[in-house]
Symmetry: C2
Subunit: 130 residues, 2 copies
């Protein structure tokens, strides 16, 4: 176990955590949670955003996805729609409010990545070199 590599791994995780912390703060400023922002991203980018799709894409168990969606629906970010063809499935859709919040957050994250992206990249390159 090379000590240099460990330190670089720690540094890499620190820069990542910094970015994720920014994300949490930005979401909070929009009055939502970081996971809700992630959920909205996934829903918006998908062609057929069902609970199962969200779970798979976010590496969650399906029941966790159900709960996450439930909270987002309660707060008016998302809508549940029963699939007419397959009545087991639920298709998700952003509300206008959810969409507005998502767009603002995406913009802010893109801006932040212009700042910290290079740092992340350097930290990653260092940790990958032996």
């Amino acid at each position: 176990m090379n000590a240099h590599r460990l330190e670089r791994l720690v540094e890499f995780r620190h820069t990542l955590r910094g970015f994720l912390f920014f994300s949490e703060e930005a979401a909070a400023e929009e009055g939502i949670h970081a996971q809700q922002y992630q959920l909205m991203q996934v829903v918006f980018a998908a062609t057929e955003p069902t609970i199962a799709y969200v779970a798979e894409r976010m590496y969650l168990k399906h029941n966790s996805a159900v709960e996450l969606v439930g909270r987002a629906v309660e707060e008016g970010l998302l809508l549940r729609k029963r699939d007419l063809i397959d009545a087991r499935r639920v298709v998700l859709k952003l509300t206008p409010r959810g969409e507005r919040i998502l767009m603002r957050l995406v913009d802010r994250h893109l801006l932040e990545l212009e700042r910290v992206g290079p740092q992340i990249k350097v930290a990653l390159e260092k940790v990958m070199s032996k």
Copy 2:
């Protein structure tokens, strides 16, 4: 709001989330939580690992750090030591068990980064290019 950039941002977060999910799984296989692994990294890499230092480094409030450390101590991963010079402070140290687990996890993460590091890098480069 460029649609391409949004999709690339979503893709970037997805690769990141994939790495973090691996981290959670790897920690679970060692019988600990992902945050405990992060905590051990920070403690191990620091010259003077106090509660306040851990909190700052992990972007946590001090009380969250206290609680995280408390659970890690209970599970025999970490030791609390009152600082002899400044009796307000608590200095942390890995137990032999904690250190063994940390080393195994670091190795596995370095290996995983050889695999997903390039993916993360590409996704990051794409999201940064306009």
